[in-house]
C-alpha cells in the first residue's frame, strides 16, 4: 500500500506545484502555461483509465472534450445557467454518450476499436458542423457580459484555472482509487486477457463500459472549462484529432497504466512543445522536431518514463507507480 501512496502523493505534489505557483506569484503568464499543463495532465489521466487500465486505446478520445465543450457552451449561451452546473451536466452527458457508444464499440478490439473511435470523432464533428443551434461551422461566441457574472474576464480566467486545478486533483484521486479497488483489478484482468477475465467471472462488458464512462466524464468537464475560458467554440478546435493523438502520446511517454505516469508524460510533452514553440532556433521546424523526439521515445523508451526509472534505479523499482 505504501509504495502506491508515494506515487499518488508525488503526483499530487506536482499538480499542487502547478496550481500554487501562479497563485502565489500572482503571475498570469505562469497561470496560462500551467493551465495548458494541467489540461494535458487531466486529459492524460482520464485517457489512462481506459487505455492504461483496460487496454482499449481510444484514438478519438478528444470527442468527449469537444462534446463537453459544446454542452457547457450551449448551456451558458442559451440558458445562462451557472458554470458549475453546466460543467457537471456536460460531464454526465458525455458519460451517457460514452455508455451508449461503448455498448457497441467496446466489442471491437485493438486497432479496430482505435479506428472506430476516430470514426466517432469525425462523425460527430461533421454532425456539429451542420447543427444550426450549435452555430454550425461558425461556432458560438460568448458575449463578454457572461464573464461579468464571474467578476469580469480577469476573474473568469483565474476561476477557470482553479476549476481546472480541482478537476485535475479529482481525476488523479479517482484514478488512484480505481487502480486499487476490485473494480480496477477487474479492468487490469481485461487488459491482460479479456477472455480469461470473462471466464473468471468478471463482468467484462459492464466493467469496460464503466471505465469508458469515467474516462469520458473528465475530458468533457475539462473541455467545458477550456472553451469557457476561450470565449468561443467551433468544431475544428473542439474535435481536433491531433489532440487525441497527443493524449495517447502523453500516456505512453509517462508510463501506461501507472498513476504518476500520465502526469509526468503530460508535463514532459507540454514542456517540450512549449520550448520548441517559443525558441528562435526551432520554432519553424517544431513539428518535425517533436516528431523526431516522439519517435525516439517510442523506439527507445517504450515503457515510458516510469518504466525507465524503475528499470534504471533499483530503489524506485518498488516505489514508483
Amino acid at each position: 500500500m505504501k509504495k502506491n501512496l508515494f506515487s499518488l502523493l508525488l503526483a499530487l505534489g506536482i499538480i499542487f506545484y502547478f496550481i500554487l505557483t501562479p497563485m502565489i506569484l500572482n503571475s498570469p503568464i505562469l497561470r496560462e502555461s500551467s493551465f495548458t499543463t494541467l489540461m494535458y495532465i487531466a486529459l492524460a489521466i482520464s485517457l489512462n483509465i481506459l487505455m492504461g487500465f483496460t487496454g482499449y486505446v481510444s484514438f478519438g478520445h478528444v470527442v468527449f472534450f469537444g462534446i463537453g465543450g459544446y454542452i457547457t457552451f450551449a448551456l451558458l449561451y442559451y440558458y445562462k445557467i451557472s458554470l458549475f452546473l453546466a460543467l457537471i451536466l456536460a460531464g454526465i452527458f458525455a458519460a451517457l454518450i460514452a455508455a451508449l457508444l461503448g455498448s457497441v464499440v467496446l466489442n471491437l478490439r485493438g486497432a479496430y476499436f482505435a479506428i472506430a473511435t476516430i470514426g466517432i470523432n469525425e462523425a460527430i464533428k461533421s454532425l456539429v458542423n451542420n447543427l444550426e443551434f450549435l452555430g454550425g461551422a461558425e461556432g458560438l461566441f460568448f458575449n463578454m457580459k457572461i464573464y461579468k457574472s464571474y467578476g469580469g474576464p480577469q476573474n473568469a480566467l483565474w476561476l477557470s484555472f482553479y476549476l481546472l486545478g480541482i478537476i485535475t486533483i479529482v481525476v488523479l484521486i479517482i484514478s488512484y482509487l480505481i487502480k486499487h479497488s476490485k473494480f480496477g483489478l477487474g479492468l487490469f484482468a481485461i487488459r491482460e486477457d479479456e477472455d480469461a477475465a470473462s471466464t473468471l467471472g468478471v463482468n467484462t462488458k459492464l466493467f469496460k463500459t464503466i471505465a469508458f464512462m469515467i474516462s469520458a466524464f473528465f475530458p468533457a468537464v475539462v473541455g467545458g472549462i477550456f472553451f469557457f475560458k476561450n470565449g468561443s467554440i467551433d468544431p475544428g478546435s473542439a474535435f481536433s484529432l491531433t489532440k487525441s493523438v497527443e493524449m495517447i502520446f502523453m500516456v505512453m511517454l509517462g508510463g501506461i497504466g501507472t498513476i504518476l505516469g500520465p502526469v509526468l508524460g503530460a508535463i514532459t510533452y507540454d514542456k517540450i512543445k512549449e520550448t520548441l514553440l517559443v525558441s528562435e532556433a526551432f520554432k519553424n521546424l517544431h513539428l518535425t522536431i517533436s516528431g523526431i523526439i516522439l519517435l525516439l521515445i517510442v523506439l527507445f523508451v517504450p515503457e515510458g518514463i516510469i518504466g525507465f526509472l524503475r528499470r534504471k534505479i533499483k530503489v524506485l523499482k518498488n516505489i514508483l507507480d
Binding site: V105, A114, I115, G119, E122, A123, N130, G291, L294, L295
Partner: protein, 283 residues
C-alpha cells in the same frame, strides 16, 4: 446527360481514385498488421513530388508516377527500418506492437508534415494539364486499375508476392519455412508507401491540393479498408468504388456538408457488424 448517369459515372471514377489512395494502407495493414498513420503524409509527399517534377522538368504526373513509385519504394524501405523495425522485431506477436506502431508511424507523419509545412506552408498547389477534369479522372482511374492488376499479379504469381501473403497469414509459420520475414515486412511496407506516393502523384493532377490534403485521403482510406477488407487489392478497389458511389449519391439528395457524417457512421456500423469487410465472413 441524365443527372443520375452522370453521378454514377463520377462515383465510379472517384471511387477508383479513392481505392488507389487506400491500396498502400490496406497492404501494410494486411501484411504488417500496422495501421500506418503516416499514410496521408506520404500521399502528400507524392503530390508535392509530382508538382515539383512538373514544375521544373515539365514531366506530367502520368509519366512521373513511375519515378515516384521508385522513390516511394526507397523511402518506404528506409522508413520501415527507421520507425518500425525495432518495434516489430522485438514483439512476440502483432498485438504487442499494435499500439507502438500507431505511435511511431504517427511520429513519422509529424516529421514529414512539419518539413513540408516549413517549405510550402499551406499554399494551395495545382498541376494544370491541358485536360479537363473528366479526362484527368479517367487517366487516374486507368492507373488505379493497372495498379490493381499489377499488384494482384505480383501477390499471387511471383515468389516474393507469395512470401508476402504467407507472412500476412502466419508470420511464424513463414519464418519456419525459411522466409526472411524482416526483408518481406520491409518490402511490403516499402510497396505500401510506394503506392501511397504514387496515388498522391496521380491525384495531384486531378484535384488541387495543399500540405494538409493527405489526411483527408487517409481518413477515407480507413473507411475503404473496412469496407473492402484487407485481403486483396481488388477488395480495396471495390471498397473505394462503393465509397465513391455512396458519396456522390448521398450528395445528390442531402446537403453535401453531411456526407462525412454519413461516411463515418457507415464506418462505425461496418466495424461493428462486418469487421472483416463487406465480403469477409462475419466475425
Amino acid at each position: 446527360m441524365n443527372v443520375y448517369i452522370d453521378t454514377f459515372i463520377n462515383g465510379i471514377l472517384i471511387g477508383l481514385i479513392y481505392g488507389l489512395a487506400a491500396m498502400g494502407l490496406a497492404l501494410i495493414w494486411g501484411v504488417l498488421k500496422v495501421i500506418n498513420l503516416s499514410h496521408g503524409a506520404f500521399i502528400t509527399l507524392g503530390m508535392f513530388l509530382s508538382y515539383l517534377i512538373f514544375k521544373y522538368f515539365h514531366i506530367p504526373p502520368y509519366i512521373s508516377v513511375f519515378f515516384t513509385l521508385i522513390i516511394g519504394f526507397i523511402l518506404g524501405f528506409l522508413a520501415y527500418f527507421i520507425s518500425l523495425h525495432k518495434i516489430v522485431s522485438h514483439a512476440k506477436n502483432f498485438k504487442e506492437y499494435e499500439l507502438s506502431s500507431l505511435l511511431s508511424t504517427f511520429s513519422l507523419s509529424l516529421i514529414i508534415t512539419g518539413f513540408l509545412l516549413f517549405i510550402f506552408a499551406t499554399t494551395p498547389m495545382a498541376i494544370n494539364l491541358p485536360l479537363s477534369l473528366f479526362e484527368t479522372k479517367l487517366l487516374a482511374s486507368f492507373f488505379s486499375i493497372i495498379f490493381t492488376i499489377a499488384l494482384t499479379l505480383f501477390l499471387y504469381k511471383t515468389y516474393m508476392g507469395k512470401a508476402i501473403r504467407a507472412v500476412s497469414q502466419n508470420i511464424d509459420a513463414a519464418k519456419l519455412m525459411g522466409v526472411n520475414t524482416t526483408l518481406i515486412l520491409a518490402i511490403s511496407f516499402a510497396i505500401g508507401i510506394s503506392l501511397a506516393m504514387a496515388a498522391g502523384n496521380l491525384i495531384a493532377m486531378v484535384f488541387p491540393f495543399s500540405t494538409l490534403s493527405g489526411i483527408l485521403y487517409e481518413l477515407k482510406s480507413f473507411v475503404i479498408c473496412v469496407l473492402g477488407g484487407l485481403g486483396n487489392p481488388v477488395g480495396t478497389i471495390v471498397g473505394g468504388i462503393i465509397l465513391g458511389l455512396l458519396e456522390n449519391f448521398f450528395g445528390l439528395f442531402v446537403n453535401q456538408g453531411l456526407v462525412p457524417f454519413i461516411e463515418f457512421t457507415i464506418l462505425i456500423l461496418l466495424l461493428i457488424f462486418k469487421p472483416n469487410g463487406l465480403f469477409g465472413g462475419s466475425k
